[in-house]
């Protein structure tokens, strides 16, 4: 079954620095880090100590409320240190690899020969379970619940996002196996979201599930947006989402009996001299991406993820668990004389028409912009709230929802659709906001409050 959705609202930010279609092999890294903070709204419980030896697939931490949910190491080696932040909050588990690539082996079985419980057990034990995200709230899926639908968005529209057709070209087998597993978990209700731009030769076209075609600018690729149109999540309507990467990791478990987080990461951004893809594991050190020279003479921010929702990890940081993109931006410490009053600022991008940047391409100026991390203005109260709606292709009143989250009004949040959105779905609102309000953070706090109140 195929259905088409034409989304009009949204915005593709014309950022410079898309990854060139050229893959490099990451030389074996010297340090990896697993960050419990990559999983939202869980309380991690450490399962290893400094000096412990781990294999690829050995558990390193679990969730306090569901101890069977473990996160496993992507590489074999020794735990070198445990990173803690304020209030001793567990922030990272660092592993020095032994470069032997020893792996915990799980039984190689066909998913059709196992019942749901057995599949769940295998996914939980191998750490593959952590790849399944649940909506509402965007937390890892809970082992005790049965989802209404499973949804996989097969394209990413975020700024400088990796081209999935390219990144997964060699993963057909794993993707197909992953889908078979999902089909066992939620028979007949596994959905794939494809872009109208997904190539006809794309591996995703050859997968079999309920397919939905989406067209339109970012955030059309966000699973949240697609679910909103296909199978909305709600208070009692749990929908599981996976990234294609999660699907491959699960597929590999059933194909080869190992936990393998290998992925193609798009190394992107206007602060790089050269961009491309690199093959590496979860938790790889950013510093090991030496194939991509940084621009000289500017301070650089290294982001794991895309520029809208990623985490600023720094050059000494590590690739996030789910991330398939690293972005390098220059820090915007510069100060522009009367910048806000200049009639034209061709080198800065604005989606609003108050700066005539939309004229840029017409006048032969750049159509792609070198955005930096400057806030371009101070934080203010909500004033222009109408523009948010233009970048959210969902039937949700963004400003009212965010205000409800600010006011910590649970009932209002519920009515205004907090179950259907994650911060990433409203990231563009934050980007365009002339009042520079931190919408994603506000929404995250709102979601945290919802989880607490609904327990």
């Amino acid at each position: 079954m195929r259905t088409t959705y034409k989304l009009k609202k949204g915005l593709n930010i014309p950022l410079k620095g898309y990854a060139a279609m050229c893959s490099y092999l990451n030389e074996t890294g010297t340090l990896y880090e697993i960050k419990p903070t990559d999983f939202h709204h869980i309380t991690p419980k450490l399962l290893v100590r400094e000096g412990d030896a781990v294999l690829a697939g050995s558990p390193v931490f679990c969730d306090k409320s569901y101890p069977q949910m473990v996160c496993t190491s992507p590489v074999s080696g020794t735990i070198s240190s445990i990173v803690r932040k304020e209030k001793r909050r567990l922030a990272g588990i660092r592993i020095v690899p032994d470069n032997k690539e020893e792996k915990v082996t799980f039984a190689v079985v066909s998913p059709e020969s196992l019942d749901q419980e057995k599949i769940k057990e295998l996914l939980l034990a191998s750490g593959c379970w952590m790849w399944i995200t649940r909506r509402p709230y965007g937390t890892p899926a809970r082992p005790t619940e049965q989802p209404l639908h499973i949804y996989i968005s097969c394209f990413d529209t975020a700024p400088l996002a990796p081209n999935y057709d390219y990144a997964f070209a060699d993963e057909e087998e794993a993707l197909k196996m992953g889908l078979r597993v999902m089909e066992r978990l939620c028979p007949g209700r596994v959905h794939l979201g494809l872009s109208d731009k997904t190539s006809v030769h794309s591996v995703f076209r050859r997968l079999t599930a309920r397919k939905h075609i989406f067209s339109g600018p970012h955030p059309a690729g966000n699973p949240g947006v697609q679910i909103h149109h296909v199978c909305p999540a709600g208070k009692d309507r749990v929908v599981w989402t996976l990234t294609p990467l999660g699907l491959t990791v699960i597929g590999r478990l059933f194909l080869y009996g190992t936990y393998d987080t290998t992925r193609q990461v798009a190394v992107t951004g206007p602060a790089l001299e050269k961009t491309g893809y690199v093959t590496c594991q979860a938790g790889t050190a950013i510093a090991s991406f030496t194939q991509f020279p940084r621009k000289q003479g500017v301070e650089i921010r290294a982001i794991s993820g895309n520029p809208l929702t990623g985490d600023s990890v720094g050059e000494e940081g590590f690739l996030g668990f789910h991330h398939q993109q690293v972005t390098f931006l220059s820090e915007g410490y510069h100060r522009e004389l009367l910048g806000w009053a200049r009639p034209l600022r061709f080198h800065r991008f604005s989606a609003a028409r108050t700066y005539l940047t939309f004229l840029s391409p017409l006048l032969g100026k750049t159509a792609q912009f070198n955005l930096d991390t400057n806030t371009n203005g101070g934080q203010r109260a909500f004033v222009i709230t109408r523009d948010y709606q233009k970048v959210v292709p969902m039937d949700i009143f963004v400003s009212l929802l965010v205000k409800a989250a600010l006011a910590k009004n649970v009932e209002k949040m519920e009515n205004l659709g907090i179950y259907e959105v994650l911060p990433e779905d409203l990231a563009l609102c934050e980007f365009i906001c002339p009042s520079k309000i931190e919408i994603q953070d506000t929404l995250k706090q709102g979601i945290e409050l919802m989880i607490k109140e609904m327990q």
């Binding site: 909305p232 520029p307 991008f349 609003a352 934080q379 109260a381």
Partner: protein, 424 residues
Amino acid sequence: MRRPRNIKFPEKILQKIKPVFIQGGRLSFLQSTFEAFESFLLVPGRVTKKGSHIRDCNDLKRVMIVVVVALIPSLLFGMYNTGWQHYTAMGTQAAQVDFFRVFWYGFLKVLPLLIVSYGVGLGIEFAIAQIRRQEVNEGYLVTGMLIPLIVPVTIPLWMLAVAVAFAVLIGKEIFGGTGMNIWNPALLARAFLFFSYPGYMTGDTIWVDGVSGATPLAQLAEATTPLAQVTNTLTQAAESTSWLGRMAESVGLTEVFSHITEVFASLSQAGTIPGLPSWTDMFLGFVPGSVGETSVLCILLGAAILLFTGVASWKVMLSCVAGASLMALAGNIPIHYHLVMGGFTFGCVFMATDPVTGPQTETGKWIFGFLIGLLTILIRLFNPGYPEGMMLAVLLMNTFAPLIDHAVVAANVRRRKKRIAAHG
């Protein structure tokens, strides 16, 4: 990234004097003021900390400055018209006087209004920002420009100062500043003047600035706004036929309508309305009135800027005109006269579209604008005491904007529940 030019000089100076203003410095009580001027001069070098790492270069300063730019045609024409009215009232054909002399006269009359409005308003804003230890908000850039444009040029400056203080303190800061206010601050200033000093705000004699010295206004009893003229006629008619008395006897609306129709039927002759300036004059703005409201042409120029840049909502403007057109059917003044008379267009373009005090929902905007248009004409037609309906209509609808939103949101919540239920 292209390095912005000329950055060294002001940045150096600011860095040098900054320690005096930050906490512990000698002038630390001016910290907010210093920061306001600093960020005015140089875009802050602040970088994103949470959430999205990149941000649009559009900020509130830019939005506000666009509105100010959109107001400039009205302001300039307002200055010229002040001079024009002055010379006309003196009996000189303004057209015979040098253009620059006419403009200069008006410029000197309007400039003090601007200075008082910005001086008092920004002074209060800076002081409050300092007390709250916040950045100064740029909302007043627009309000400070709007207020001089919606008062008669003859307003005593102290009154303007009091009104501005009222609008900023009671209208805005009490609620938490720009973005939190319930009513449009500029209109609140006008309403304050209107009800506190009605003698200076309504009537026949206040709209044209007088010659000078002892007899400024008395000579100008002839000069009246178009609206005041209509009102006068209406009032006279009402008196002569004890129209109000009859209404008090709880007559049906239809009768009131028919009576109004009678009054205007006597006024209206083949397209022009006697007692009123010509439509063209009113459209171009060569009539007495508040400084910025007279020239519909200049206001439309401003509207074009607002709509092109997307700062104001075309939905509010359109529905406002639609509402007015519908209501105008009840009277005998055709809609195209209503649109060019008094503050209708100015209010419709610059007041009703205020994003803070209007509804947050798009459907709400249609309703909001429509009711503003409708109420404005309703007040004009049926309340001879207040010839200018725009101000009261906008303020009233500001009050109801949250209610409109509430209804729209409730409908949205129901619709979403239904949609989710339909997905099974």
